[in-house]
Structure formats: structure tokens, C-alpha cells
């Protein structure tokens, strides 16, 4: 059997025997810096804008809804089942479809939609990153198939960076089968190193902090 064959070869090469515990691993290196809420928002927006992301600070849920409304304006959108979107009234905007729980229906809707609207489980201030776990609230396709992605994040979900995230979510697979870090719009530089946005994923990303 290939499995035993390969493991045997590995053990022989290393001079190890089956079941022997490893020497202690180097301790994880996680550095979480102090940063107040305002500084986090400022850093998140600065990083996103550097990547050509659009940012908006909504003073209220109504403001978040207005932003979404003007973005969708006459176009079609699919919104995730994130409670925050419903609370903001975004899911009931004209042109916005939501409440998908069937994969094939969602796929068809996302493939045709102009805008995908999601929440975000966290955002990372230092890199301008959105962090999303796959769940009944968030599907993977909504932030992926439509050419424009709008994410609505609540203010207290902004972390300093990757180190803080991995402190809070040390073993991702305990929570979900899929998590994704999204840092700016989809891009490529495969032809002559010339930057082009929106290859396969959304070419436009909007982040609203409520």
C-alpha cells in the first residue's frame, strides 16, 4: 500500500520509528499590538484604498443601507444571509435577492448578479483584509462570482492583523470547512507585469464599516 510504503521511506530516511512523538515544535510566534478602535478603522481604510478598494464609514445602519442602495441602483445583487445585512435593511432593497440556502439556486443567482453583498466575520486593519467563514450566514460564491463585492463590517470586528486573527481562531477547521482572507480586488499581472483588476473574482470591492 502506498501509504505505508511512503511513511516507511520517510521514517527510514529520518531514522524515526512509527508512533514516536516529535521533539517540541518551536512555539508559535504571534504578536498582537495594542491599537484603539479608531486607529483600526483608519488603518483598515488606508490599506484598502491603497489596493483601490472603496471605503465608507456609516454612522448608522441607515447610512449603510443608503450606500448599498446607491451601489445597486438599478442593477441586480445577491446578498448573503448575514444578520447584519438584514438589520441594516439591505436585503429588502430593490434589486437585491437574499435568503438562498440551495447551492444550485445560489450559483445561478450569483452568476447573473452585478453585485455580491456580504458581511465579514472579521477585518484585518494592517493589510486591509476581509475574513469570512463559510456558514449558513455566508456562502463562498457571493464574494466571488459577481464583478462587484460589497462587504458590511461591524466596527468591533476589526482586528489588528493576521496574528490577532489566529489568536482568536487558532484551529480554523473546528469552525468551518472554508475560510477566506480577501485583500483587495481580484488582480493579475501575468501579462508583462501589467496590473489588471477583476480577473476571475470581483474587480471592485467596497467596504462599509458600521
Amino acid at each position: 500500500m502506498s501509504r505505508d510504503h511512503i511513511l516507511h521511506k520517510v521514517r527510514t530516511a529520518l531514522g524515526r520509528s512509527a508512533g514516536r512523538p516529535p521533539a517540541p515544535a518551536p512555539p508559535p510566534r504571534l504578536r498582537v499590538e495594542e491599537m484603539d478602535a479608531e486607529a483600526r478603522i483608519a488603518a483598515l481604510f488606508a490599506a484598502l484604498e491603497k489596493l483601490a478598494g472603496k471605503t465608507f464609514r456609516a454612522a448608522s445602519r441607515d447610512e449603510a443601507r443608503s450606500y448599498a442602495a446607491s451601489l445597486v441602483d438599478g442593477k441586480t445583487a445577491v446578498a448573503s444571509n448575514a444578520p447584519l445585512l438584514a438589520e441594516c435593511g439591505i436585503t429588502s432593497l430593490a434589486g437585491v435577492r437574499s435568503g438562498f440556502f440551495d447551492r444550485d439556486e445560489l450559483k445561478a443567482a450569483c452568476a447573473a448578479a452585478d453585485v455580491g453583498i456580504t458581511g465579514a466575520d472579521y477585518a484585518l486593519a494592517d493589510t486591509g483584509t476581509l475574513f469570512m467563514l463559510s456558514s449558513r450566514h455566508e456562502a463562498r460564491m457571493i464574494s466571488l462570482l459577481p464583478p462587484v463585492h460589497l462587504a458590511v463590517v461591524s466596527k468591533e470586528k476589526i482586528l489588528t492583523g493576521l496574528d490577532e486573527l489566529l489568536t482568536l481562531v487558532p484551529i480554523p477547521s473546528e469552525v468551518t470547512s472554508s475560510m477566506v482572507l480577501i485583500t483587495g480586488p481580484s488582480r493579475t499581472a501575468d501579462i508583462e507585469q501589467i496590473l489588471v483588476r477583476g480577473v476571475h473574482g470581483p474587480g471592485e470591492i467596497h467596504v462599509v464599516v458600521v
Partner: protein
């Protein structure tokens, strides 16, 4: 031993626009990396490198343990682990899986490991269409070429060549603007994504404590490949495992910056198994294919083991004065540049491409920029020594050894040394701007010809130091 490298090198050197393309593209990547790891951007860069090296070294030293831990965690989340000794095992598994699923179309995201085993070509024999979806890989596949660079597969192509390939293979009107070329590819590939039966990805990291595959990309094609088809197969070499998800805090910071100067690439996916109850989308089935293909053998040597730490950022290629001249297609295998020069001989045998470890000036730029601190020059020297020893065993290098013996003998006899100097001076043709420029026809043959074809020497002085010294004393000076 012959030091004559393949003709491809001569062709690359003789093509000015290709030289310009390689130099410009790698140069831009060098600049981006430099800014991203500068002290003001990443003050703890050196600490991160050291931690990354320690993590990789520790994992390799205990690889069997982490592979078993990884396997049990993948299974716990509903995935299957397939162990493959070589490419044939992988093809057998995938062809069988496609048969069971009645699958015809496979979408692929970028994976050097699949290139290593010629997966696309081999699956074609099983009537399976496998489509590369990374833009650079897609162009390369349409052109029926091999990737030119670990990170930027179409680095050597101009937009005009891309236009020509697109019109020829896709039947579209000639389009030379990269933005529009990208749109063409997006439209064609989007249809394929929506129709594909199986998605095949590589893996940048395998996380033992989570049973997870980590994929790093900028375009979104890896997300599409692993989200839309109902079956996801991830293929990775056994050396890709890391102990904990928390180690990603170190490795992700280094990978993006070293490769393209990005703090994080646009998408980082951490995937563990098929979709779970309640999750709306994602694949129903997940398979992790663990490939050996010669890796286990490399573990035996404590020092050479280091070469399995590579995280495929491509920084050593961009900084290598040799890669930047001879380009990615001059190397004998899919792994090019300094990392290719140390991996290829270890996978394919030291004597299969004996010139490879010698194709380096040992300037050390590769080791300096390596995010996991692989000492590439040291490994090149070890491999050179192996090539030479293998040559001696086979009775080769006789001429070279004879030459060195003769040299040693002359050096021990001052009279002979002086006479040989005078002879060399007499035979030296006229100098040309301080250099020989050409050598006497008598010398310009055999291995010496190859050696002199890209090198020059200053002419031998008409009078040696000893002659001048004697003349000076005779003249009654000092």
C-alpha cells in the same frame, strides 16, 4: 564531465527582446520585494525568516508524525487522503475518480506539483479535458509551453505574443491590450468554471492540526476551482505540511512579500474537507492527494533536506544573475532558477544534468532573499562535489585531473614555471582593449573552446615580474 549546457541557453541569449522581457519582469519583482521587506515596512523580517526556517526544519525532521496527524484531521472532517508514490499513481486515482463521477471537464488552479508530473498531458490520454485557469498558466497551456517561472508562468511573453496565441487558439480578433485580453480569458473560463465536474488545486501549505489546505492567489481562480465543482482534489508534495494554523502568521507574511511584494495576496483560502451541514456552497467531496515522487529520498541527508523547505516564492529566480540571462526554459525541469538547480539533481539524479549545479556564480543572492533561509550556494557546492565524484568513478575527468597534475608539477619547478610563462607570452596574440578578444586557433578547440566561448582573458604580459626584477637589479637600482 561536459559543461556544455543545452542549446536553449544559446537561443535565449541570442534573443534581445526575450532578454529584455526577462530582465524587466524579474527586475520589477525584485523592486517590489525590496520595498515589502524593508525595515520600515516589516521591522521583524529577519526574525520571521528565522522562525520560518525553524518551523520548516522541525516539520521535516518529524515529517511522518505530521503527515499522520494531517491525515487523521482531514478524515475527521469528511475528506479522504490518497497517498501517491509518483505521477502514475496520481493519474490512476484521478482517472478512476473521473470515471466514477462521469466527469469530463476538470478546472485547475496553478500548481507546480501537477507540472512536475505532467498531469494535464497524462489525463488527456484518459479523455479528460483539464483546463488551467490562472491567467498565466492558461496562456502557457494555449501556447503548449511549460511555465517560465514558478510564480509568473508567462513572464517571457509579450502582450503581442498573447494576442497571437488568443487569436490562433480561441478564434478571437487580435487584442493587444492586457486589460481586454484578461476579459477574454475571464469570459471563456467563467463558462468552464460553471460547467466543471472536478476542481484540482495544488497547496501552498498543508496544516496538520487543522487537516487544512491553504491556497494563496490573486485572481480568484483557485477559489472558483475549489468552490464551484462538486468535487475538489488538492494535490501536494508531502513536504508541504506545517504543524499549526498559527504558523501561517509567519509563513503567509513571508510568502506574499517574497513573491510579489504583497503583504498578503488577494485571496488566501483555508479549506478543510467538503462542505458541512448548514454550509450553503462548496464541494460535496474532498480528496487530498499526497505525493512522494522522490521527496522521501531527499530527507535522508540532513543538509540537503533543507531544499524541501522551499515555499515556492520565486525570489531566488528573480535575483539570480544566471536565471535572468538564460531564462526559465533553459533549465531541464519545471523547477528553474537556483532552487531548480538544487532540486532537479536530487530528484532526477546527479548525473542526469551534470552541468546544472555548475551554472551558478555562487554570488549568494538566492540565499540572501530566501524567506526560509535555504543555503542554496552550499547545496550547489555539495552537488558539484557529487557530480565530480561520480565522474571520477566512471573514469571521466581524466584530462582535467591530468591538467591539474601537470600544473602542480610546473608550479613546483621554478625554471619550468618561468619557461612556460615565456612560452605563453610568445603565443599571446595582440591585445584588444586590454583583453585577448580571441585565442590562437591551436587552443580554440575542445573543452577549452567551450570555456572560452563566453569568457575572455587579459593578455599575458610581455615580460614577467621575475624578468623585470632581474633587469632592475642588473641596472644597479634598488
Amino acid at each position: 564531465m561536459t559543461l556544455i549546457a543545452p542549446e536553449q541557453i544559446q537561443r535565449t541569449l541570442a534573443n534581445p527582446s526575450l532578454q529584455q522581457a526577462i530582465y524587466a519582469s524579474t527586475g520589477r519583482l525584485v523592486e517590489k520585494r525590496r520595498a515589502a521587506v524593508a525595515a520600515e515596512a516589516l521591522p521583524d523580517y529577519q526574525e520571521l525568516r528565522e522562525q520560518a526556517r525553524l518551523i520548516k526544519q522541525h516539520t521535516l525532521e518529524n515529517l511522518d508524525h505530521y503527515l499522520e496527524q494531517l491525515e487523521s484531521n482531514v478524515r475527521a472532517h469528511g475528506g479522504e487522503v490518497i497517498w501517491c508514490r509518483d505521477g502514475a499513481d496520481v493519474v490512476e486515482f484521478l482517472a478512476g475518480l473521473a470515471g466514477r463521477k462521469q466527469a469530463r471537464l476538470i478546472v485547475k488552479s496553478k500548481s507546480m506539483t501537477t507540472e512536475e508530473i505532467d498531469l494535464n498531458e497524462r489525463l488527456q490520454h484518459h479523455d479528460l479535458e483539464t483546463l488551467e485557469t490562472d491567467l498565466g498558466e492558461y496562456i502557457i497551456q494555449l501556447a503548449r509551453e511549460k511555465p517560465y517561472h514558478i510564480v509568473a508562468p508567462a513572464l517571457h511573453m509579450t502582450r503581442y505574443e498573447v494576442a497571437e496565441i488568443f487569436s490562433r487558439r480561441l478564434g478571437v480578433a487580435s487584442e493587444t491590450v492586457p486589460e481586454n485580453q484578461t476579459k477574454i480569458a475571464r469570459a471563456v473560463l467563467r463558462e468552464k468554471f460553471l460547467a466543471a465536474d472536478i476542481g484540482v488545486s495544488g497547496a501552498n501549505f498543508l496544516v496538520a492540526d487543522s487537516g487544512a489546505v491553504v491556497l494563496v492567489e490573486n485572481e480568484g481562480n483557485a477559489r472558483l476551482s475549489t468552490t464551484l465543482p462538486k468535487v475538489h482534489v488538492a494535490l501536494a508534495g508531502i513536504e508541504k505540511v506545517i504543524p499549526r494554523a498559527q504558523d501561517l502568521a509567519v509563513l503567509l507574511k513571508l510568502l506574499g512579500r517574497s513573491a510579489t511584494g504583497q503583504a498578503l495576496t488577494v485571496y488566501t483560502s483555508i479549506l478543510s474537507g467538503p462542505r458541512r451541514a448548514g454550509e450553503i456552497d462548496g464541494p460535496d467531496e474532498f480528496y487530498l492527494v499526497l505525493l512522494d515522487n522522490g521527496r522521501a529520498r531527499l530527507l535522508a541527508d540532513r543538509e540537503k533536506r533543507e531544499s524541501l523547505s522551499c515555499i515556492r516564492c520565486g525570489a531566488c529566480l528573480n535575483h539570480c544573475p544566471v536565471y535572468r540571462k538564460i531564462g526559465g526554459h533553459s533549465y531541464p525541469w519545471v523547477y528553474s532558477g537556483p532552487i531548480g538547480a538544487i532540486i532537479t539533481p536530487q530528484f532526477q539524479g546527479t548525473t542526469s544534468n551534470p552541468w546544472l549545479p555548475f551554472a551558478s556564480s555562487l554570488c549568494g543572492a538566492c540565499a540572501e532573499v530566501c524567506p526560509v533561509k535555504i543555503d542554496i550556494p552550499k547545496l550547489l557546492l555539495m552537488l558539484r562535489s557529487e557530480v565530480t565524484k561520480a565522474g571520477q568513478r566512471e573514469g571521466r575527468n581524466r584530462l582535467e585531473r591530468l591538467g591539474f597534475r601537470l600544473w602542480a608539477w610546473i608550479m613546483r619547478h621554478p625554471r619550468l614555471y618561468e619557461m612556460s610563462g615565456m612560452l605563453a607570452s610568445a603565443l599571446t596574440p595582440e591585445e584588444n582593449g586590454g583583453w585577448l578578444g580571441r585565442v590562437p586557433a591551436l587552443l580554440n578547440r575542445g573543452p577549452l573552446k567551450a570555456w572560452l566561448s563566453h569568457r575572455d582573458l587579459p593578455p599575458v604580459a610581455s615580460k614577467s615580474f621575475r624578468q623585470r626584477w632581474r633587469a632592475r637589479r642588473k641596472a644597479g637600482g634598488a
